[in-house]
């Protein structure tokens, strides 16, 4: 059922704006904590910039068509909301999708007539190089990194390989067609690598095989670099990720540069701010000499400077 989204928040701020006729419509995909954090951060980031923010209690295709038929800024949070907006987009508003995976965002069905300069996003994905930054900083000396990708993600694997090479790493990518091939591929991969990079790919990594991937890597005493704090909690060695709040704030910064007159948005971006999470028990158990999280982050930022 796509015509209604959960009630999240209805907030009407007093108009203090130059864009008195325009609205900013925030549409979360779900009512979870993560979405609330992103909304809060977005709201805080927009505060004082004289803008109307309106989060509707419910959304129907009609409302979307109405809102996107005018020079408003629509901010869907999450893929489900972004897809809903794309499917009912009337093409006049600007769309800033937050917390969406890049691969999925690039395939949203935007109307042909919608000016692409008015569509942007802050992805949930980290920039490709950042994961390798983490490998270099947190696992010094481990230069042979393994990853698994489905063939649908061949392009991503190429990008990963290029970036790894640029950073002086050797990336071994195991390509699979189906989830059934993940186990054998992993067994072939692990003996040849010194770290395993989890790649967001629903074929190679999903809720049903994460346990097996983590256990197989642990048995081989291979540290695992993930892309979410949940993976670290489950047993990955370390992750680099952006919090919903960080994404919300970055979205607010982009929205601040938007005007109803032009409607243009900055290009889609990966999160600029990030967090590091380390499973210290796994680190100790694997006898890794890993800096503490703050130090890792500091060094990663230095590498980027």
């Amino acid at each position: 059922m796509r015509s209604f989204l959960p009630v999240l928040l209805l907030a009407c701020l007093t108009p203090m704006t130059a864009w008195t006729d325009s609205q900013v419509l925030v549409i979360p995909s779900e009512s979870g904590t993560a979405y609330q954090e992103a909304i809060n951060a977005f709201q805080e980031g927009m505060a004082g910039r004289q803008v109307n923010i309106r989060v509707p209690a419910s959304i129907t295709p009609d409302i979307i068509q109405q809102m996107t038929g005018e020079a408003n800024l629509i901010v869907p949070i999450g893929l489900r909301a972004a897809r809903l907006v794309a499917e009912h987009d009337a093409g006049k508003a600007s769309i800033l999708a937050l917390m969406v995976p890049k691969s999925a965002a690039e395939h949203l069905p935007w109307p042909v007539q919608h000016d692409r300069r008015r569509i942007s996003a802050v992805y949930v994905d980290q920039p490709v190089g950042r994961s390798f930054d983490l490998v270099r900083v947190a696992l010094p000396g481990r230069l042979r990194v393994g990853a698994m990708c489905s063939r649908e993600n061949t392009a991503l694997s190429k990008v990963l390989e290029l970036e790894a090479t640029r950073q002086g790493l050797h990336l071994e990518v195991a390509m699979v067609d189906t989830s059934a091939e993940v186990g054998p591929a992993l067994r072939r991969l692990l003996p040849d690598v010194e770290a395993l990079l989890l790649v967001p790919d629903p074929v190679t990594l999903n809720s049903s095989n994460l346990q097996n991937v983590l256990l197989a890597a642990y048995r081989q005493r291979i540290p695992v670099i993930g892309f979410s704090p949940g993976q670290v909690n489950a047993g990955a060695t370390a992750s680099v990720y952006a919090t919903p709040a960080q994404i919300g704030r970055q979205g607010a910064q982009m929205a601040a540069r938007w005007t109803p007159a032009s409607g243009d948005l900055p290009p889609a971006q990966s999160p600029s701010a990030f967090e590091i999470s380390v499973n210290q028990q796994v680190v100790r158990s694997l006898d890794l000499a890993m800096p503490v999280e703050a130090e890792i982050r500091h060094r990663m930022e230095e590498r980027r400077d």
Partner: protein
């Protein structure tokens, strides 16, 4: 290494590399935000050697593969202070100090299953259903570990962790041929589905043994392991092992038939992310029977063991975890010759244990453990262990450790009765004498250890250093002493020599000090250099006549190099130096020796299948006495070829 740290928990609760159904679906933010179930719970993770309360040497898979060795016992040469002796081609002795044919003071386990023999103690390594390539890693605790594994772990413990079926998929064939009639064939299959995975290994081993000894070995080996993921929280593991065959036993026409079997079941229940429950049950049996026209009654010995234990692991808070557990065991031995009865002799034992690992601060770690046991042959005994680790940084750990431990008498020491009919000079005539008798009054050996340890690593240099200084005292030493046979008040002599009978007793103590060191440089995954050094000083106050003073070589050194050359060629060179020693019960001592092993192995593809061919040349320096100093105990050179194919 504390009990919870054993990799058993990990290995028994893992599930196979499962495959979910193949579905093409979009990635969503949920993939980044989800909180998946905790997989690596505290008890599944092995304790870091930096945090261990003991000196631990881990022989991992890379080292096992790189060593080139095809016999399990040879791997222990890589451990500082560990003695590997060859009494015969099939009877090998692995001992950490107190070198003894029965190596009674060290515990040995396979996946947590004790293979320490109840009858005479020690391990019959030739009867273990174990192929080198089925070993994932070996954890060797150098020093007392009774607080973790109970009595008999007084000078160390070995836990051999086997490979999970999911890690050895497919079929593997290995053919080995070498000097002295060494012929081996091994076949392994690993496979299964999402929920159940199997590993089965079948082996045939023939070996002519040592050059001058009647010590042929012929064995058929079966090793099965099945791992079942019941659901996300429960798992079950089943292991079955069989070794049956014959051994040349010192003379032509004197063979020993061997029948060894084991069954082990492990159950794991993850209660929540901080608590889990492990249950282990196993039964083992070893039967040897004399065969052939020259066979002797002493070859007929049977020993069985039934064991069950429960372990509960808790993560109380960050930096504080504990484990508590209990076990029950029954050993049954039978031998008309050694016990002068055809009946089963049963010995029961049980105990409770607990451990605490408490990180007091980022730089201080406290490990405390205690094992309280009741053994039917002696009173209750308690073995505590306390260790404090100071870790000024994550790469350096200084350890101060104190522990006490007991070694319970084996059944023969308590109940042995070797009765012999002899005809004595008139007026006595034929009588039955008890040539060796156990002693119901002996008390367990008591072992107190103090040690200072250091473990340091320099990641940028790929270097690590392990040091251990120890000061140990063994009290109530159990040994044999001889007295002249007295019949009807008459001391008996034959041919002018007194006829002696032997009795076990507690005979004083031994002080032992020493140090062990291991330097390791591993710049690449397939390249490592290991240098080992161990020094033992024993001051014996034993009054039984045993020359305990020299039951550890005054020093042992080892230098091991493993490297992968271009073209997928592995080369390994290992040199050992062992100072002279005198095994317990021996009087003449065994001279010092050197041993040099070198090997090459080429990895290649046979069609699409990985294959390897290797040549190992063992003991290039030539003859040395493997254990006792007699001509049948000479170990000489041996070339071994092996070929393996995975398909």
């Amino acid at each position: 290494m504390v009990r919870w740290s054993s990799s058993i928990a990990l290995l028994l609760t893992v599930s196979p590399i499962a495959a979910s159904s193949s579905t093409t679906q979009d990635l969503t933010e949920s993939d980044y935000l989800a909180e998946p179930q905790v997989v690596l719970t505290a008890s599944r993770m092995v304790q870091s050697v930096m945090d261990a309360p003991n000196a631990v040497t881990v022989i991992d898979r890379e080292t096992i593969a790189g060593s080139g060795y095809t016999r399990v016992v040879d791997l222990f040469r890589l451990v500082p202070g560990m003695f590997v002796g060859e009494k015969s081609g099939w009877y090998t002795v692995v001992s950490h100090s107190f070198i003894d044919e029965w190596a009674r003071r060290m515990q040995v386990m396979i996946d947590g299953r004790s293979v320490y023999l109840p009858t005479f103690g020690g391990v019959r390594w030739d009867t273990l259903p174990l192929a080198v390539d089925d070993i994932e890693r070996i954890e060797v605790v150098r020093g007392p570990n009774a607080a973790s594994y109970g009595a008999n772990s007084v000078t160390g413990s070995i836990n051999i962790i086997t490979r999970h079926p999911a890690d050895v998929p497919g079929r593997k064939l290995e053919i080995i041929g070498g000097d002295h009639g060494q012929r081996e064939a091994w076949f392994r299959w690993g496979g299964g589905g999402d929920q159940v995975q199997h590993r089965i290994t079948l082996g045939r081993r023939e070996d002519g043994g040592l050059k001058y000894a009647q010590d042929d070995e012929r064995s058929n080996i079966l090793d099965y392991r099945g791992d079942i993921r019941v659901d996300a929280r429960q798992s079950l593991s089943l292991q079955v092992g069989v070794v049956e065959g014959t051994r040349g036993d010192g003379a032509v026409g004197r063979d020993q038939k061997v029948d060894s079997h084991s069954l082990q079941v492990d159950y794991s229940l993850q209660l929540d992310k901080d608590h889990d429950l492990l249950v282990k049950a196993f039964g083992t049996g070893l039967s040897t029977q004399g065969s052939g026209p020259a066979s002797l009654p002493e070859q007929n010995v049977t020993g069985d063991r039934q064991h069950i234990e429960v372990q509960f692991n808790n993560q109380h808070a960050q930096g504080l975890r504990s484990t508590v557990g209990a076990y029950l065991r029954e050993d049954t031995v039978r031998s008309q010759y050694w016990f002068n009865t055809g009946n089963d002799l049963k010995v029961g034992s049980g105990g409770v244990f607990g451990h605490l690992e408490w990180r007091l601060s980022p730089h201080w770690l406290l490990n405390a453990g205690v094992f309280h046991e009741r053994y039917s042959l002696v009173n209750d005994k308690t073995s505590p262990h306390l260790a404090l680790n100071w870790q000024p940084s994550q790469d350096h750990s200084f350890r101060l450790s104190m522990s006490s431990a007991y070694r319970n008498p084996v059944v023969f020491e308590e109940k042995g009765d070797v009765a012999q009919s002899v005809t004595l000079p008139r007026p006595i005539g034929p009588v039955t004498i008890h040539a060796i008798t156990g002693n119901q009054d002996i008390v367990p050996e008591y072992f107190v250890s103090r040690e200072i340890g250091y473990l340091g690593r320099w990641p940028s240099l790929h270097v690590s250093l392990d040091l251990r200084l120890f000061d140990e005292h063994l009290d109530n030493y159990i040994g044999l002493t001889a007295n002249q046979l007295v019949v009807s008040g008459i001391p008996i002599s034959l041919g002018g020599f007194p006829v002696k009978i032997w009795t076990f007793g507690n005979w004083g103590g031994v002080d032992q000090t020493g140090c062990e060191a291991q330097f390791k440089w591993q710049p690449l995954a397939h390249t490592q250099v290991i240098a080992n050094y161990a020094e033992f000083h024993m001051d014996s106050h034993v009054t039984s006549g045993d020359i305990v003073q020299r039951t550890a070589p005054s020093h042992m050194e080892g230098l091991h190099m493993m490297h992968r050359l271009p073209g997928q060629v592995d080369v390994n060179v290992s040199q050992y130096w062992v100072a002279s020693f005198c095994p317990i019960g021996d009087s003449c001592g065994t001279p010092a020796y050197r041993r040099l092993d070198v090997g090459l192995r080429k990895h290649f593809k046979l069609g699409d299948f990985p294959a390897a061919a290797g040549l190992q040349y063992l003991n290039l320096h030539g003859n040395y006495y493997g254990f006792y100093q007699h001509s049948e105990g000479i170990v000489d050179q041996r070339a071994v070829l092996d070929f393996r194919l995975e398909f």
